[in-house]
Symmetry: C2
Subunit: 218 residues, 2 copies
């Protein structure tokens, strides 16, 4: 991944101070990392303290979307104040000759801001379509689309990915010079989220299985 | 995963109110899910608001461990107050006949509490050993172990996984009865973090590659 040195952090709290050579602040890098995330973690505060809650997510129109039950603790808190959201892909184990230099390759995004509720019915429908299309391209046209009651039952929120920073490590081992001759394997073990053989629901054995979620190949 | 109905949430803020049939509060379930996480997300608050920061993690002796640079924003905040930590494994896409019933299979843990610094040199060394052994079993004995300066350069913190809750969805599609005859494939596409072919560092081509990180097989 190329590093755009001309791009600056959008705010003080997004500026990456530790290992700043891994920082990326350009919108394209942030969007690309977020677009392939199935889950994000949302930090928010309420009377009980700070919470970190995992939830499924998807991207659409420059925003990160989440959904949930009206009245849930998280959605109530997100309506009342700011949040921070993070998503992370682990891309590999970096195994060095020295314990100290072990690391991981990863791509992460941390974003800040206030979620806004998506209340317009057409916008909500478009958001759900984007979610289903992320899970399996072409699927929105195949499934039964949500009815009015179903749309009303689910709250949809979105966060503009404007105050956001990406952090990426995508290189090999960096051992100390004096350790290079040690007789231990060093290198990168790539990791990826891989789809296995689909398990059809009863009655679906004869139907064509959908395209798998698009994961990177080796 | 069996559901121990006799186990209760350890606190009000860990009690899972939404989809409580997915809740697990027993220590074994929490520990098993945490033990296979490579990354957690840490929520904490400081003067700039709430933050959600991804960081690598590992389990040892009933605690979740993280490490970082002394003086980093996160470590300073964790020394000063409580945090919430979450980790999530996405295990599958649940593709239903109706858009509304699409879901994911997952295993997650949310924990609360105050991280404690690991300052004793022997404990710190044992913690690093556990980290390296998680990345590749047997590796601690092969690599150059950390020197005094290296140990001093890195802060290690741990959180007891006592105020914690797990949430697990590990079943198939639940469509409405009236949708069961729709001619669309429904089922589960399993997902797992899979290791690819190791890329050796220069000079390591002839050495045996390590055992891959232990990922579940189909």
């Amino acid at each position: 991944m190329s590093h755009d040195k001309t791009s600056a952090a959008p705010s003080s709290r997004t500026r990456i101070r530790r290992r700043s050579e891994r920082a990326h602040y350009d919108a394209d890098t942030v969007a690309a990392i977020a677009a392939s995330a199935l889950v994000c973690h949302v930090a928010f505060a309420d009377d009980a303290g700070v919470h970190c809650i995992p939830t499924s997510c998807w991207c659409h129109d420059g925003h990160l979307y989440i959904h949930g039950a009206h009245g849930s603790r998280m959605l109530q808190a997100l309506a009342a104040g700011e949040a921070s959201v993070a998503l992370t892909h682990v891309d590999g184990l970096v195994l060095a000759r020295s314990a100290f230099h072990h690391s991981m390759n990863y791509r992460s995004v941390v974003a800040y801001g206030r979620f806004e509720p998506v209340t317009d019915a057409d916008e909500k429908l478009a958001a759900f379509a984007a979610y289903i299309e992320m899970l399996a391209p072409g699927r929105w046209a195949q499934v039964r689309q949500p009815g009015r009651k179903e749309l009303a039952a689910t709250a949809v929120l979105r966060l503009a990915l404007t105050e956001a920073a990406a952090k990426v490590r995508d290189w090999g081992v960096k051992d100390d010079a004096e350790d290079m001759a040690l007789p231990v394997w060093a290198g990168v073990v790539p990791l990826r989220l891989a789809a296995g053989t689909p398990h059809p629901d009863a009655g679906c054995e004869g139907l064509p299985a959908p395209v798998h979620w698009g994961v990177p190949t080796d």
